[in-house]
């Protein structure tokens, strides 16, 4: 972060809260960066000659006579090919012991793509996980979060998805990542030999929470460089957006804003949308796909964070433990990929939508049969077969440890249908039955 030597240095703070300081200063522009007692801060409010700064690291120990120096520009990131393989902090500074990143200086949080210039997403992103590829197919340019309880292995699943996806760059934005998870990602990318296409922006739990607010914009500024300037396919991983939203609420609280639902700021929807809507299929072939993680509090999706997220993203992937098989599965009922119909049967085999729907419907029948059983009612022969089917379906297809090609998923689907049912019980189009019921 460069500073201007001609810039005036202020030495008197008027007031200090846990996250902000206020001082008298002139010629300051909105959003610009400053250093307060050596800590990075950003202008969030100007009232006459009173300027309020949000101090990313927190204000612990800052004295009223702290030195304040303004940079005259908003937060920026140096972008260029040399970003590849680098691990950076929330300010874009190296944490991997490597040299400073040179390159073109870009302000983060830039403008949106003109919706009229967007292309319709149409390229399938295969992940090998049938719960995703078969039932909730991902498309490049899509934005979709994992909704998961904190005890589920969402970071592992996300890392698998990223490494299997056929993309040019993977950009990880880690917010409040535990040090263990950070090292996990690092090791995993290294083991896969994929370091050259990975860029990580990391804020760990050891670092101040307000710093997290910079991570998504940093990651997406890098993503826009590769997608727009280089026409590359970029996959952005953001984990954990719940911790990002928590940081938003801390700042708005310190600025005496009136909270709305669940003590989140009233602008939560716009704040999240600004990030997620960076997902785009560009006219010249580049794309940004965003896969995020939103951790839930005991599966509660009505909380403001997952709720607002659901209205913004193109679907959601739920992870849950299947009590019958003991495996973590992608829940076929509550998961949804809103863009899947753009690729299903178009980029995949003709029987995809029928196998998908039939498979899920039978799984639902099994769930009903289970309820019946629990309520002490008799099960019919069909119910029994559904229960058996469900176990195998969960094991062979829904489980997140599956890694097969889509064609194999479809064939597995047919083989399960054949094992437990008769064609007339399934209502699949006759021509498909003739072709695939072997």
């Amino acid at each position: 972060m460069s500073s201007n030597i001609f810039q005036k240095i202020y030495t008197k703070l008027e007031s200090i809260t846990k996250a902000t300081v206020t001082l008298k200063a002139t010629g300051v522009s909105n959003d610009e960066l400053a250093k307060v007692a050596g800590r990075l801060a950003q202008v969030v409010k100007i009232k006459g000659d009173l300027v309020t700064l949000q101090v990313f690291e927190g204000t612990e120990g800052i004295p009223t006579n702290a030195e304040v120096e303004f940079f005259g520009e908003p937060p920026a990131l140096n972008v260029g090919e040399e970003l590849s393989g680098r691990f950076l902090n929330a300010y874009g500074e190296p944490i991997d012991g490597g040299p400073k990143v040179e390159g073109i200086r870009r302000y983060i949080g830039g403008p949106s793509v003109n919706p009229f210039k967007r292309r319709q997403p149409s390229e399938l992103i295969p992940t090998g996980i049938a719960g995703i590829d078969l039932n909730n197919t991902l498309v490049s340019g899509q934005k979709i979060p994992f909704f998961a309880d904190p005890d589920q292995p969402y970071n592992q699943v996300m890392a698998d998805v990223a490494l299997r996806a056929d993309v040019d760059k993977i950009i990880l934005g880690g917010m409040g990542l535990s040090n263990d998870d950070y090292l996990f990602f690092r090791q995993k990318f290294e083991d896969a030999g994929a370091l050259n296409k990975i860029i990580c922006f990391v804020n760990t739990t050891e670092e101040p929470p307000v710093e997290r607010l910079l991570i998504p914009d940093m990651a997406l500024t890098a993503a826009e460089y590769f997608a727009v300037d280089k026409n590359e396919k970029v996959l952005v991983l953001l984990t954990d957006m719940t911790l990002y939203a928590d940081a938003l609420s801390i700042v708005s609280n310190r600025m005496d804003q009136i909270p709305s639902k669940d003590s989140m700021p009233g602008s939560l929807y716009s704040d999240l949308a600004k990030i997620y809507e960076k997902a785009v299929q560009l006219p010249d072939g580049g794309s940004i796909t965003i896969i995020a993680v939103t951790t839930l509090n005991d599966g509660d999706i009505t909380h403001a964070i997952p709720d607002n997220t659901g209205y913004i993203t193109e679907g959601q992937l739920y992870l849950r433990k299947d009590t019958d098989t003991g495996k973590i599965i992608v829940d076929p009922f509550r998961s949804l990929s809103r863009l899947k119909q753009l690729v299903i049967n178009k980029k995949t085999r003709e029987d995809h939508s029928q196998v998908m729907n039939t498979g899920v419907r039978l799984f639902a029948d099994a769930a009903n049969a289970k309820t019946k059983l629990e309520n002490g009612f008799d099960l019919s022969d069909y119910d029994m077969r559904c229960l058996e089917y469900a176990k195998e379906y969960s094991n062979k297809l829904l489980s997140i440890d599956v890694n097969i090609k889509i064609e194999e998923m479809l064939n597995t689907g047919w083989s399960l249908f054949r094992k437990y049912f008769k064609p007339e019980e399934l209502g699949i189009k006759q021509e498909l039955v003739d072709k695939y019921w072997k």
Binding site: N114, P115, K117, N308
Partner: protein
């Protein structure tokens, strides 16, 4: 002399300005920042300190930046060329912007000033006219686009001169009018109007008295929306709000569709951009885009412009209504608009109402809905704006301020039910919770009597009653088990399933089933009621289930077949046989 001022404070997109002369509430101003100008609107005045909301990012703005006030409110340009255009919330043409990214301070013209339109006069010199009277018309696609006396003209005018038939641009003078004092006014094909003010210039606004067909059975049959009526669709995410709106946009028997994508996903708008130029309107055989204007302010575009976007859309809708056209206005989603209001109110440190929304939320919403309606124009013809908005309630809970405020003013309520969506019963419009007040209008009953049959409304209520009783029976069956309830419960439940599968559910992606004309809806309702009104005797509940399942299967095939085709009739014969066999 324009009023000017200097910036004195900045919080996000709320900027305070010290001014040197009078300003008006809602007046527009431009803040000068280096070589760009940022558009803003006055939202509060306190002495010489004025609060403005900026329609753009305020990054880099400094105290002391100059501000120039425009002496007018946010306006839109009204004239030929609005249809098939794609605008942002401030009516900037998105298609003529060059960059892939939206550039701050880039404002593009709404209408093409060079395009020539074939003008035909309607009045002749010497005629007396008033605001909104038709002077002539041009063909905009296949629609007759009326050139009107500007809405801002008060009192009567005499046509001094009217341009002869020929081609003109929107800025050419096509008429010269004189007022009672003899002063002359030149009229072009384009006029400007402030978006927050309703366009009047009609004789009266009667109660809605006829239906606006949407082709969706759960709406037209069960909860019809009137032409000039209002309705709203609340529902949690993933329930198909957008699919229903798109289906209605494609099928509704409207002359003009205005779609306001307000704070929603950009990829959904891209779908409209891509599909509408290709889809054919089955009634006119023309491309859908030719009758559509899209106002697009997606969730990542500036918040203040999101608030303006619904007003921009409504003003364009009212403009076409004044031409005697049927306009359908769709807004997705009005909750995002309300959230934009909340963000501003919050920054102005106003005392909040429920859920931190501004206290006047309810009156703002009802004021907006009241701009819809069917009107009788000065020349006796009618025009209408039918408004359908979606609401995205937080957590899917309908007890929240936006849903409650909207419920007070919208006359149709289409509740989307999560359980229906989960079990893929689309459209997920709940048959029990949803309502249309128009079913109770005597004017509408008269319309149905004339168009369908005398007892139409009572038939609809009978069908609804079947679903209600079916639900009660289903709850009992669930508690007591299949064997634990009398046969009558199974019958009741399966009759309701028949109504559900055949009338309520509809495949939005099937070429035939997606759109059902009213006559066909009547036919199917009669058929279903006929079956439900018969007495059945089954000895075992499995027989009952099997019987109704087979009826559902046959009648679904009917829904998928061309009405009155030999296939359709064949299925109907099968159906009759099946029913007679049991009786």
């Amino acid at each position: 002399m324009k009023t000017t001022g200097k910036v004195t404070g900045i919080v996000s997109n709320l900027v305070t300005v010290e001014v040197n002369a009078p300003v008006a509430q809602n007046e527009l101003c431009y803040i000068e920042l280096e070589d760009t100008k940022l558009m803003a609107e006055v939202i509060k005045v306190n002495g010489s300190s004025v609060s403005v909301q900026v329609y753009e990012s305020t990054r880099g703005l400094k105290v002391g930046c100059s501000v120039v006030f425009e002496g007018k409110m946010l306006e839109v340009s009204l004239g030929p060329g609005l249809l098939s255009s794609n605008y942002d919330g401030l009516q900037n043409n998105l298609a003529t912007m060059e960059d892939v990214f939206l550039k701050r301070g880039e404002y593009t013209a709404a209408l093409d000033a060079d395009k020539k339109w074939e003008f035909t006069p309607i009045v002749s010199a010497g005629a007396t006219v008033a605001a909104a009277d038709w002077l002539g018309e041009v063909k905009e696609g296949w629609l007759p686009h009326k050139i009107m006396v500007p809405f801002s003209f008060a009192g009567d005018y005499t046509v001094k001169q009217i341009a002869p038939q020929g081609s003109y641009t929107i800025n050419d003078t096509i008429a010269t009018l004189t007022d009672s004092k003899g002063e002359e006014f030149k009229v072009t094909m384009c006029q400007r109007w402030p978006v927050k003010v309703a366009i009047k210039g009609y004789k009266e606004k009667p109660r809605p008295y006829r239906i606006m067909e949407t082709g969706v059975r759960a709406i037209d049959t069960f909860n019809p929306i009137a032409e000039g009526g209002t309705g709203f669709i609340p529902g949690p995410f993933g329930c198909g709000k957008t699919v229903i709106q798109h289906a209605i946009a494609k099928q509704a028997e409207a002359d003009v569709i205005i779609m306001a994508a307000c704070g929603e996903r950009a990829n959904e708008v891209v779908e409209i951009f891509k599909e509408f130029p290709e889809l054919i309107d089955s009634r006119t055989g023309r491309k859908l885009i030719e009758r559509t204007t899209i106002i697009c302010n997606t969730s990542n575009m500036p918040v203040a412009a999101r608030e303006a976007s619904v007003y921009t859309a409504m003003t364009i809708a009212e403009y076409y209504r004044a031409m005697g056209l049927k306009v359908l206005l769709l807004a997705d989603s009005t909750s995002r608009w309300a959230q934009a209001l909340r963000e501003m109110s919050n920054r102005m440190e106003e005392l909040p109402g429920a859920d931190a929304f501004p206290v006047d939320l309810s009156s703002i919403i009802s004021n907006f809905y009241s701009r819809a309606g069917i009107v009788v124009l000065n020349n006796g013809q009618t025009g209408s704006v039918t408004f359908l908005g979606t609401v995205s309630p937080a957590g899917g809970n309908l007890k929240e301020p936006v849903t409650e405020s909207t419920k007070k003013c919208a006359r149709c309520f289409y509740a989307l039910n999560q359980n229906r969506a989960d079990s893929k019963r689309y459209p997920a419009i709940d048959p029990i919770d949803s309502y249309s007040k128009y079913l109770e209008y005597p004017e509408m009953e008269e319309f149905f009597t004339e168009k369908l049959s005398k007892d139409w409304v009572s038939k609809v209520l009978a069908a609804r009653n079947i679903t209600l009783r079916g639900k009660e029976a289903y709850d009992q069956i669930n508690i007591l088990g299949d064997d634990g309830v009398p046969m009558d419960y199974h019958l009741r439940y399966w009759k309701s399933e028949l109504v559900d599968f055949i009338l309520l559910q509809q495949d939005a992606f099937d070429a035939i089933d997606c759109q059902t004309p009213l006559k066909r809806q009547e036919y199917m309702l009669n058929l279903v009621l006929d079956i439900c009104n018969k007495e059945y005797k089954f000895s075992r509940f499995e027989e009952c289930i099997q019987f109704f399942k087979s009826l559902i299967n046959i009648m679904r095939q009917m829904n998928f077949s061309e009405f009155g085709s030999s296939r359709f009739n064949e299925y109907q014969k099968q159906l009759q046989n099946r029913v007679e066999n049991v009786l």
